[in-house]
Amino acid sequence: MKKVFSRPRTLKDVPFHYCSGCGHSITHRLIAEAIDELGIADRTIGIPPAGCAVIAYNYFDIDMLEAPHGRGCAVATGMKRVLPDRIIFSYQGDGDLAAIGTAETFHAANRGENITVLFINNAVYGMTGGQMAPTTLLGQTSTTTPPGRTAVLDGHPVHFSEVLATLAGAVYVERCAVNSPANIARAKRAIRKAFQYQMQDRGFSLVEILSQCPTNWKMRPTDACRWVDEVMTKEFPLGVIKDLQAKG
């Protein structure tokens, strides 16, 4: 018998602090696997966000630099321009990227900075206790929208990946999920592809990952995975949103 699956080398032997069934930890593993497969661990720099994944630097065996809330893309821009041979990825949540860091992300994408952004969308502000985020679905209850989000009071959920896909600088935008084995395999391919595009100096790439948040959705982890499939993907359809290279 030979070992076919084990903890990736880039993932340190440290237990995750995330809640039971959280999508963050799955995404961390996928990133570590992608880095291992491409063999870029010694020249990759990651940028953890503010939010649940704020101490992601404890888990990866690569260089990491913490950015202020929402400024991941701005910091990544600086790093990539100073160290163009490094692979820079910014790991940001929906509150971090689509609310506080909207300007930085939008203009980094518009300039076509050669960086990779991993956008974890769980439809709430996770770390602070489940407040409404820009991506909260209509009718979804959160601590700041107890009766459910309404379009009149709170506006519609923001489709930030689609917004960024309209910009000329973005070469690759895809939305994935980590709620089932098939979706996890797809998400891993997307992350690897985004890194490869960056290695080929093609421009801005973004992978949005719909991630379950059982604690703040007040569901069991298995129910949360089902909810992603049944409700969340109706609002945020999975698939490639933009891939300039695929067309030639």
Partner: protein, 88 residues
């Protein structure tokens, strides 16, 4: 007879498991009882348990009845990367 063979022949002919193709090892201290692996396993080889680990969760248990084929779906969905898979 080897250990695996003894195990194999301990079942009545009809209920004999398929030949052992895969095996998984669950790190009990990392398990947080999210039960995603229980859902992912197509052969119901992973079951919840009532044991406790140091964090206070009930870690899942692998039932080595010879039906595991080492497909690694459980390890793919495991958020804690607590499962290692071996295959023939």
């Amino acid at each position: 007879m080897g250990k695996e063979a003894l195990f194999f022949f301990s079942f009545p002919r009809r209920e004999r498991p398929r030949v052992l193709k895969g095996f998984i090892e669950i790190n009990r201290e990392l398990c947080k009882e999210c039960l995603l692996c229980v859902e992912a396993c197509k052969r119901d080889n992973i079951v919840p348990s009532t044991d406790l680990n140091a964090k206070g969760y009930h870690p899942v248990r692998f039932t080595a009845d010879g039906r595991c084929n080492g497909c690694a779906l459980c390890a793919t969905v495991c958020p804690e990367a607590a499962i290692e898979v071996w295959r023939e």
